[in-house]
Subunit: 310 residues, 2 copies
């Protein structure tokens, strides 16, 4: 979708969700961290997606990913059922309960990178089992920057593997509770500093409707969330954020603290689109003008006049 | 403390708290909404405090208020016990349980404004019973701007009175849960718009460690909270915020949307000092240089480079 020449590889889940919110419900909602990430990032840089789906995966979703410009040569389609997740959001949309998970073809997923993917300069390891994330790293030449997401489950049952991956990545994107769970620190600064000691010099703490914090070396940046009058479905917001964040880094080729701050805002902008519809309804079919307008809305949201006490 | 000539009157509680946090405890901590508010605001504009305490109130606290430049001609000292609150904070410091409340002399409090207070151009009605807030309004000439705080208790047991006060104020400062409770709206934008229909054209939604939102007419501003490595005691943070916010408005005499944004940052700065100690330990004895440095820290925290998608 852009003139950038820095491909961004993402390895993640591609799923069919059944999403229940207090006001509506969508069965057969195409989701998965790899899906949301790659559509969001596609507006900023060329994206390559590695994942697996079953024969039940909708042809329309394949067409949509292609139409978004996502390179899906790495998306395997195999016999069996696509990974399915069913969940219900609470009244305030900040919390959710998982009602059902069926791994399907994801149970036997072994990421296999097409040869030309191995030299991708930017890599995002979306939320999958840490041992699979390590297998991806083994297949890669040296990317310029590696981002990682994970979840509470892996912190609980696969922490040694997770720590091995963490020691090899540049940026961890994690939610607030997970940051505390991973480090045992209740204070976010201390938690972020503890994560930095594990490897990643940049730590993005996602706080849902409260925005996100970036800890980069010694610096801290606070990105607001855009208040929205209607949130339809929060599913995928964190992945869309990661797509915008990593997409901007890949596009500019500049992982300096200053550009990482801007990347946080593009991430926030794409997340804000994501929650305005089920599945990727509101994330798909955007363009530079719409995204830029949303970026400006974030600038307007957080801008204030410098003053002096005299 | 400043060269401003716009006195700010606050009517609120002056209390002795017993604060228990996961790591420390302070009995006999001087607190109360009026106390925190007036010390915070004193750095920005002349402040007048109306409240009541008993004979047990520490002389040192009286001396501290005077030394901060707070006009306490309106602080009654009467026979009986000062209002006492005892509470325990949860591990993450975001939530707390009230263990005990003893109204003491506050039970019979009837705010009486000294004659020269009645023409104060700026008024803040801190969190007290709405009927008392109405009694204050009855004694006032027309202030240029009136701010108001309240709490869940009054929304539950004194809503008709609260609605009457609300119809007469310019700015409501309220926390997130209370905004939803007051309006029945789970969405913050809808809640803020509903509050605006009740009277105040400016609504500040306080979100604790997540910062605060300002809804002013059709505009929305998001003020970040400064991540702190150690929070000692959150008690009074909302009141210190209100003091900084109202203090800046009184100092500038300009309640435009642009100055309200800056006021949000001074409020946030003073709140950030407040939580760094028990009682007003960290709020007292500041100066323009320290407050300005904290203001700059907020600017640095939220600043990002504008970019273009081309």
């Amino acid at each position: 979708m852009t003139a950038s020449t820095s491909p961004l590889l993402v390895v993640g889940s591609v799923a069919i969700d059944w999403v229940i919110t207090p006001r509506a419900e969508r069965p057969e909602a195409v989701g998965g961290s790899g899906t949301f990430f790659s559509i969001a990032a596609s507006y900023l840089t060329p994206v390559r997606l590695v994942g697996v789906v079953g024969r039940d995966f909708p042809a329309q979703a394949i067409a949509d990913l292609r139409s978004a410009g996502v390179d899906i040569d790495g998306l395997e389609i195999v016999d069996g059922k696509t990974f399915r997740w069913k969940g219900r959001y609470h009244e305030n949309m900040n919390a959710r309960d998982t009602l059902d998970t069926q791994l399907g073809v994801f149970a036997d997923f072994k990421p296999k990178l097409p040869p030309d993917y191995r030299t991708s300069p930017y890599l995002f390891l979306a939320n999958i089992q840490p041992d699979l994330q390590l297998e991806v790293l083994e297949q890669m030449a040296r990317p310029r920057l590696i981002g990682l997401d994970t979840m509470n489950l892996w912190i609980e049952i696969a922490k040694p593997s997770l720590l091995r991956v963490l020691s090899r990545v540049d940026a961890l994107l994690i939610n607030e509770q997970e940051a505390m769970q991973l480090t045992g620190e209740h204070n976010l600064i201390k938690a972020a500093r503890a994560v930095q000691k594990l490897g990643p010099k940049s730590v993005v703490v996602k706080r849902g409707e409260y925005g996100a914090l970036l800890f980069h070396e010694d610096d801290v940046f606070s990105a607001p969330a855009l208040p929205l009058e209607e949130v339809i479905d929060p599913t995928g917001a964190g992945d869309a954020f990661a797509g915008g964040f990593m997409g901007w880094i890949a596009r500019t080729g500049d992982p300096s603290g200053e550009q990482l701050r801007t990347a946080m805002i593009y991430g926030s902008a794409l997340a804000s689109f994501c929650v305005q519809g089920f599945s990727y309804d509101s994330l798909f079919g955007l363009d530079a003008v719409k995204i830029q307008a949303r970026f400006e809305a974030f600038a307007q949201l957080s801008d204030f006049r410098r003053a002096e006490l005299r």
